[in-house]
């Protein structure tokens, strides 16, 4: 096994590692809080990791841009170093491993043998099936072979990103490599899919931490997506939703409505048909860091039928048309100026000014005292 990646062998208890219990608890608490786990989960997690039960993770890369790993690198709660060194034991990851070539391939096989039936498999990238899968090969073996072999003895399988979930960008027409997602190949296994381009790292962490803590997987929808993140549509929790309800739409990029942050539906926003929690869980802990937050319509990257299939600026049907809490009119019939009110208002201002001016006139001559007092 690669000595750099094999932390668990040297440190049976996380408490004995150099990070110390205090910092360790902080990391766990932050991780649990960021994905909404309860306080008791923190205790369970600490106990599990104290016992040296850090799950071994094998991370496979296929046809993809590594964007999901890149976005995972940019989380700070927990930061990646804590995640891969303290919470899990990341035993095989082509992007992050220091080793290469035969050395890292050995690490893969050692891990599979040592943790047979216990390791977690993470798949990033789509798998080409056409022509026997020859379009993506690592160490002379096709992606198809590697996936089937590693998945056979995995305790849990997570497909991160749209490519691994349903083919994603490589599978868009005409799909020259016959790319498809992990669930389509591993038909008889449960594959948790975390689609997204990139996937929100917190949804991934949520699944991993639940598995670490409780040994279970979250409830999934029919496409393998965890319900805690993918049950609702972007549209339902969108911060721009009030503008949709009030009929305030961006008509073209850079117009007044766009500058004021109005609804992007007419620009082709797929939010009403896209299941994801982007509107409430932004990326990289930067408030507003998600497509709609920076003024671009949602492209529906978590949906097989939408992402890279429907043109970005084509509008979609509203999946669940819910009424707004109120119906503010686009053009209010309220208000208006009644002639009587204007007359009364004008008279009051006029009398007040006139009285004051008259008073000033009197002062001009320093004349006799007035008996009336009027202000403004």
């Amino acid at each position: 096994m690669d000595p750099i990646l094999d932390i668990s062998a040297k440190s049976p208890s996380a408490l004995e590692t150099k990070i110390g219990r205090r910092k360790f608890l902080k990391i766990i608490t932050a991780a649990a809080a960021s994905i909404g786990l309860s306080g008791s989960a923190v205790v369970q997690m600490v106990e599990a990791i104290d016992l040296g039960l850090k799950p071994s993770v094998i991370w496979l890369h296929f046809q993809e841009c590594t964007g999901c790993t890149e976005s995972l690198l940019r989380t700070a709660h927990p930061e990646l170093a804590s995640l891969i060194l303290d919470l899990i034991s990341l035993d095989y990851h082509e992007t992050l491993a220091a080793a290469a070539g035969h050395q890292i391939e050995k690490s893969l096989h050692d891990t599979m043998a040592a943790h047979k039936g216990q390791y977690v498999l993470v798949v990033e990238g789509s798998i080409p099936e056409k022509d026997g899968g020859i379009y993506c090969q690592i160490g002379g073996r096709t992606a198809l072979d590697i996936l089937n072999e590693v998945a056979a003895d995995a305790a849990a399988i997570i497909a991160i990103g749209s490519c691994a979930s349903f083919g994603g960008l490589p599978a868009s027409g005409p799909n020259p490599t016959g790319a498809t997602g992990a669930p389509m190949i591993l038909k008889d296994k449960t594959v948790v899919t975390i689609p997204g381009c990139p996937a929100n790292p917190y949804n991934f962490l949520g699944v991993v931490l639940q598995f670490v803590t409780l040994g279970t997987l979250p409830a999934l929808d029919d496409k393998g997506r965890p319900l805690f993140a993918y049950a609702r549509t972007i549209h339902e929790d969108c911060p721009r939703r009030p503008h949709f309800d009030a009929g305030r739409f961006v008509q073209k990029f850079g117009d007044e409505d766009h500058r004021l942050g109005h609804c992007l539906y007419k620009m082709g926003c797929k939010g009403p048909a896209t299941h994801a929690n982007c509107s409430i869980k932004h990326f990289c802990e930067v408030p507003g860091a998600w497509p709609i937050g920076i003024g671009h319509p949602c492209i529906g990257c978590t949906e097989k039928e939408l992402a890279f299939q429907v043109p970005i600026h084509t509008t979609v049907d509203i999946e669940r048309a819910t009424p707004p809490d109120t119906y503010p009119p686009i053009h209010a019939d309220h208000g208006g100026v009644s002639p009587v009110a204007t007359a009364v208002g004008g008279a009051v201002v006029g009398v007040a000014l006139g009285a004051a001016w008259k008073q000033a006139k009197k002062l001009d001559g320093e004349g006799p005292d007035s008996t009336d007092k009027k202000e403004e």
């Binding site: 305030r248 004021l260 503010p328 009119p329 686009i330 053009h331 209010a332 019939d333 309220h334 208000g335 208006g336 100026v337 009644s338 009587v340 009110a341 204007t342 009364v344 208002g345 009051v348 000014l353 004051a356 001016w357 008073q359 000033a360 006139k361 009197k362 002062l363 001009d364 320093e366 005292d369 007035s370 008996t371 009336d372 007092k373 009027k374 202000e375 403004e376």
Partner: protein
């Protein structure tokens, strides 16, 4: 509190002008009852687009600014130690106390659920400390009390000579306490208006793009603060001039003249800050070509600049009529500035419009009538005005 002697004006309370004021007040009061019976929808021109109308723009925002006489005078007398202005303080405090009380009543009439207002000061744990409006609410509530306490020596002086021994003894005791405690209330009376008058600017600054760019600036709180001080002095000049004539009292023209010099400086500062800010942020071109808005802006600027120029030289300040006219313009300018930023330059979106309904106007008139009535009643019965004393020489 002071060496100069304030005395009650005396005389009959039920004069013909009082009868007219009473009538206006009664009509306003009746309409207020009706407003609570039918609700805001039928009785006002307010809407979801314009939830703040005349009652907020005039009774609260303009009303409290006009009532800044007490604040502005206290600033001059106690902070800058200009004891010579002392005779102007008590009447200024009275106008302030009345103005703020009217603002408080105005809010109660304006809000949708007035029966919850009492919860604001006591729900300490639930306060949203980022809210400018909460700051205004708490400050105004506290300041109304502080103003009446600041004014309380006037009442206590009178009650000490009361035939009722109990009341007289109570007043004497309380007077002794107030002599010591008053300094703290005066300090509070400095702090609170500084906070909430600028917050009234913050509140409308938070409206963001709904406020026209000519008015919207991060300097709104500062502009609101200095313009309310100028308005306070202007009201003191008008109030003093009118009271001295109406009640046949010694005039305070010299004091008012030097006061007006201060006002002039503040007005120049106000206009300068506004223009420098506009140009620094590249909004100069809006001064022309924004139609109606540009016109309103220039009207305000003229109304602020004209009195500033009129009061700049000692020649203008030598004539009480000029000072009175200038003060009148300041009051109109400051009011217009507040009306513009809260209503005219405020655009909540297409289709909304607002003009105060007749009941709104009449209820406001009723409140103003009440304010004037109570002012006259109090100066006739309590030692507020000090005009019978000879022109006070420089003190301290």
């Amino acid at each position: 509190m002071s060496e100069h002697k304030a005395t009650p004006v005396g005389g009959s309370l039920m004069t013909p002008s009082m009868r007219i004021l009473l009538f206006v007040f009664m009509v306003g009061a009746a309409l207020t009852v009706w407003r609570f019976a039918v609700g805001l929808g039928p009785s006002t021109g307010l809407s979801d687009g314009y939830p703040w109308g005349l009652w907020i723009a005039f009774d609260v925002v303009t009303g409290t600014a006009l009532a800044c006489g007490g604040y502005a005078m206290a600033l001059l007398v106690y902070i800058f130690n200009k004891g010579k202005y002392h005779p102007l303080v008590r009447p200024a405090l009275l106008t302030s106390a009345l103005g703020y009380s009217v603002a408080a009543i105005g809010i109660i009439i304006d809000v949708g659920r007035p029966w919850f207002i009492w919860r604001i000061p006591i729900s300490v744990g639930k306060w949203n400390l980022d809210s400018a409006l909460l700051e205004v609410a708490l400050c105004v509530m506290a300041y109304v009390m502080v103003l009446w306490i600041e004014l309380s020596p006037a009442f206590l002086e009178k009650w000490q000579d009361s035939g009722n021994t109990g009341l007289a003894n109570f007043s004497r005791g309380l007077s002794k306490f107030m002599d010591k405690a008053l300094i703290w209330f005066i300090a509070l009376g400095m702090l609170l208006p500084t906070m909430h008058q600028s917050s009234l600017g913050s509140v409308i600054m938070l409206a963001g793009p709904r406020l026209h760019k000519l008015w919207h600036t991060p300097w709104l709180p500062f502009l609101y603060l200095i313009s309310c001080i100028a308005m306070g002095y202007a009201v003191v000049v008008m109030e003093s001039t009118l009271s001295s004539r109406a009640f046949g009292r010694q005039r305070e023209d010299k004091m008012l003249a030097s006061l007006s010099g201060v006002t002039s400086g503040i007005l120049f500062l106000f206009v300068a800050v506004r223009f420098v800010d506009l140009f620094l942020r590249g909004r100069g071109p809006l001064l022309i070509g924004e139609g109606y808005y540009s016109v309103m802006f220039w009207l305000e600027t003229v109304l602020f600049l004209a009195p500033a120029i009129m009061l700049a030289g000692s020649r203008g300040r030598a004539r009480i009529a000029t000072m009175f006219r200038a003060s009148m313009m300041i009051v109109v300018a400051g009011s217009l500035y507040r009306f513009d930023s809260y209503l005219v330059a405020f655009n909540p979106g297409p289709g909304w419009s607002y003009f105060p309904s007749v009941p709104e106007t009449v209820i406001t008139l009723g409140l103003v009538a009440m304010e004037i009535m109570v002012f006259i009643m109090l100066v006739k019965s309590f030692p507020i005005l000090s005009g019978t004393s000879p022109m006070p020489a420089h003190r301290k």
